[in-house]
Amino acid sequence: MGSPANHDNVASLATDFYSLLESFKETPFYHLLFEIFLVLTVLWLILFRKPRRIEKKLTEKEKQELIDEWQPEPLVPPVDANHPALNVRVLDGIVGKTIEIDGKKSLNFATFNFLNFVGNPRITDKAIQAVQKYGVGSCGPRGFYGTIDIHLELEERLAHFFNCEEGIIYSYGFSTVASIIPAYSKRNDILFVDEGVHYAIQKGVEASRSTVKWFRHNDISDLERLLVEQDIHDKKNPKKARTLRRFLIIEGLYMNYGDLCPLPRMVELKYQYKYRIFMDESVSFGTIGQTGRGVTEYYNIDRRKIDLISSSLEYSVGSIGGFAVGSSFVVDHQRLSAQGYCFSASLPPLLAAAAIEALNIMEEEDTTLCDTLMEKSKRLHQKLLDIKGYLIVGEDISPLKHLRLTNSQNTVARLEEIVEFAQTRGITITVARYLNDEHRLPEPSIRLILNVEMTDEELEFLCTVLQEARVKVTV
């Protein structure tokens, strides 16, 4: 079994070990310390030291070679010479209910002239008076002597019209909503945005750098799904959730689709899930509701439940610019933090005067402008439904409708042929144009816009022409 040999081995091992220990006791202290330090260094080298990246140290000659070799791309890529934006023809005269093109008059169903204020003599007179008092430009931003008393008057009138506490005006319709959204919603805040919103809102959402959650166009159940998801997420981290603001960005009447948003249900959800509603009523201001006060009037909802209503002065009112109305608490913040308001020149006074006069006309006692517009829209909708082969997108009361061809025939080229044919018959319509980087590019369509002064015969004529056009194009 060899146990005596083993015993011997163990014994010798023990003796060796013992003598090792004895030698430890005899070594000087500094020697021990040095050894321990070496051991620790080796351990550190093996375990903790990250391998150093070999840095590229280029010589000056190499750098110069790189600089000489580098070729940038051309500043802009070549463009298609046939793009519509480059083939522009000139037009003269007022673009009102009728336009004169190449000497011939045609009915205008293409511009956003809902209440036919373009060329209105009362408005033009007031604008002329403004030029004679204030000149043309305002020569400064609002903070530095660019606030003219006519701006203050317009803001008060707009707030009064909507029965809100305060209003604020901007000098450009596109910049209005694109400046408003980033003023309130910052990085990490949550935006629930309808997919069908128009481009200016998309840019505002992009500029805000917030977390965006898109929901399918006008689909309340999709919105609820997102809200529930967010709620679950919040419950996991309630402390963080208390610092994140939530906003719902919608339009009253969607420009790209012509349909109304389901506002009542959204307001209910607002109080349940605690988000604030910013509604853009560019198209529905002056066109929807008994007196043109928009979707809130149509659905009979208290306007105080909507945190901010933004809109444009470029459609029904026939001027230039944009505005927002709401409670003072919300609106006043923009005066210091909306970029398009603080860092841009203010609205030229003549355009503000024109807007005030347009509001005067809209607020007159016996006016039935908006009512008439809704009625005519309904009638037009009926007539259009009677034409075979077209798909009408939009509400019946909406004065803005999108026309598409049915099935796979709906291409931009065919729609343009329809537009061309209509022009020869004396009707001006347009294909809706979009840039390619829209979040969700709408399908090609013809955007029909109804002017309140159009007579029934003219609407009939439009339908006749559209029918003939379709037959010609799809043959």
Partner: protein, 548 residues
């Protein structure tokens, strides 16, 4: 922070000290008056030739004196202290809470504003709010009417008394004096209103087949291209939007943008929206720019190491807060050497600088085609509204196709366009030349007098934007209110529009100002400057106006 601010400001390219007598001996124009209401200009432009023999890039940025810096920080500290005290009083209901209240506050909504954001608004801005946003009731010409407003509750609310105050306007951007309510431009604008109405309610490319655009729009773009000596141009309805919506059309992901650190916020917004990477270089510092250019080309994208697709340098012609002018000849040399592209924002310089009013390109006498993208606005020198981009035809075509404004925003209003066309036409005639000369003279006179009195004035001596440093917030407010009491309206800016230390008053000289108006203003500045000790300059001796 103190050290860094002084090092940034201590560079001065060439400091020209004008001995005072030189200016006075050539002063033969003190009696002629440029009338903004009538159209007779009996002023002879005698000083155009002088520009050629002086250094065009002479700029001065004097360092902040130490005691001013300390006192400024102290002022802000005291203001913060009082702010906290007042907030405490308000929160414990000892003091009444003013200001609007969130209607959703009690319902469990997340607060709309951070409390620290509104700290500044509640406690500092509101106390001096009356010096900003002053409404006017007349044309913003050389003299205008301010509506009088009083506050009974320390600026939380205002009450309009119905009276107006007549004041000399040193605050509006009216460089060539085109803010007029009568005269050829105004008459043309009124005619345009009668012919075309106020607006046409459509975008530029959506009017039936073969997109139709208004004749005046096309005319404006051609006239502008001729004026600037470039191939083509395109005009938009808003200057801010021109930058913010068209830089994304030119730059995209994979590009590098090098922008001056003092660039306007519209340029920064455009750069952010474009998706390109952007870096800043020190203000007007060509060495720093060159170093950054070299580093960018050599190393490429910091993460992927791929070379940049293209590099764009973004500068402004005249910087509106600093009064400095970009160094265009050096920029063009750099751009050619490193094959970068140059974007110049001439918002404040088109019309106002240069012998013929063509902007910085004219001022330095370089070829306009060397600047790849020229951008400008019509608000400042043309008395209208809107912006433009000018350059080669290929660039403008690309912008026409891809611009957000062209596709989605309304086309410009007819009277606004007509005002620009009329003022452009006027600039080519002798009357326009007189305006340009008068502006140049007014600028040099005003700046020279301020510097001689011992105030710190930033910027190039030819730039019509004259920032004078005041530093302390309380002095800024006092200066503004005192000037108004003497019938002069000025613009004072502080944090956050400028750096914390550098609160200033910014004078905007106009061709419509007469020598008399400038003298009135200088007398007032002299008095107030003595009263509240604004003569900080150590490079120039402090003197009273009567001694000059």
């Amino acid at each position: 922070m103190l050290a860094s601010s002084s090092s940034k400001l201590s560079h001065a390219t060439l400091v020209h000290r004008y001995p005072p007598s030189k200016l006075h001996s050539e002063e033969e124009m003190s009696d002629t008056v440029f009338s903004s209401d009538e159209n007779e200009m009996n002023y002879k432009c005698e000083n155009v030739a002088r520009k050629d023999d002086e250094n065009l890039q002479c700029e001065e940025f004097e360092e902040t004196p130490l005691y001013a810096a300390i006192l400024t920080y102290l002022s802000y500290a005291i203001l913060c202290l009082f702010g906290w005290l007042r907030d405490f009083l308000r929160n414990s209901n000892i003091e009444k809470k003013r200001g609007a209240v969130d209607p959703n506050a009690t319902l469990g909504f997340v607060p709309l504003y951070q409390s620290y954001e509104s700290f500044y608004t509640r406690n500092m801005y509101t106390r001096v709010r009356d010096i900003f946003n002053r409404p006017i009731a007349s044309v913003p010409g050389a003299q205008f009417e301010l509506t009088e407003r009083v506050s009974d509750d320390y600026n939380w609310t205002y009450r309009y008394t119905g009276k107006t105050i007549n004041a000399i306007n040193l605050g509006s951007y009216n460089y060539l004096g085109f803010a007029e309510k009568s005269g050829p431009c105004a008459t043309d604008a009124i005619n345009a209103l009668k012919t075309y109405g106020v607006s046409s309610c459509n975008t530029r490319i959506e009017l039936g087949m073969f997109q139709r655009t208004q004749r005046y729009h096309v005319e404006l773009e051609q006239l502008l291209a001729n004026f600037l000596h470039v191939e083509s141009s395109i005009a938009f309805g808003m200057g801010f939007a021109t930058n913010a919506l068209n830089i994304p059309a030119v730059a995209s992901k994979g590009d590098l943008i090098l922008s001056d650190e003092m660039n306007h916020i519209s340029l920064i917004l455009g750069m952010r929206l474009s998706g390109a990477s952007y870096r800043t270089f020190a203000h007007n510092d060509m060495k720093d720019l060159e170093a950054k250019l070299r580093a960018a080309i050599v190393h490429g994208h910091p993460r992927t190491q791929r070379p940049w697709k293209k590099i764009i340098i973004v500068v402004e012609g005249v910087y509106s807060m600093e009064g400095s002018i970009c160094r265009l000849p050096e920029l063009i040399a750099l751009k050619k050497k490193y094959k970068a592209y140059l974007y110049m924002d001439e918002a404040h310089s088109v019309g106002a600088m240069g012998k013929n009013g063509r902007g910085i390109v004219d001022y330095f006498g370089v070829d306009a085609n060397d600047v790849d993208i020229l951008m400008g606005t019509f608000t400042k020198s043309f008395g209208s509204a809107g912006g433009y981009i000018a350059g080669k035809k290929s660039l403008i075509d690309h912008i026409r196709v891809n611009s957000h404004s062209n596709t989605y925003a309304s086309s410009m209003s007819a009277p606004v366009v007509q005002q620009i066309i009329s003022s452009l036409r006027l600039l080519k005639r002798p009357e326009g030349q007189k305006r340009i000369c008068q502006l140049a003279d007014n600028t040099r006179y005003f700046r020279q007098k301020l510097v001689d009195m011992g105030f710190i004035v930033y910027g190039n001596k030819n730039s019509p934007v004259v920032p004078m440093l005041i530093y302390m917030p309380a002095r800024v407010t006092r200066f503004n209110r005192e000037m108004l009491r003497r019938g002069i309206a000025v613009v004072t800016v502080g944090f956050p529009a400028t750096k914390l230390l550098d609160a200033r008053v910014r004078f905007c000289i106009s061709a419509a100002h007469t020598r008399q108006m400038l003298d009135t203003a200088l007398t007032a500045i002299d008095e107030i400057g003595t009263d509240i000790s604004l003569r900080y300059s150590t490079r120039h001796k402090s003197r009273r106006l009567r001694e000059l």
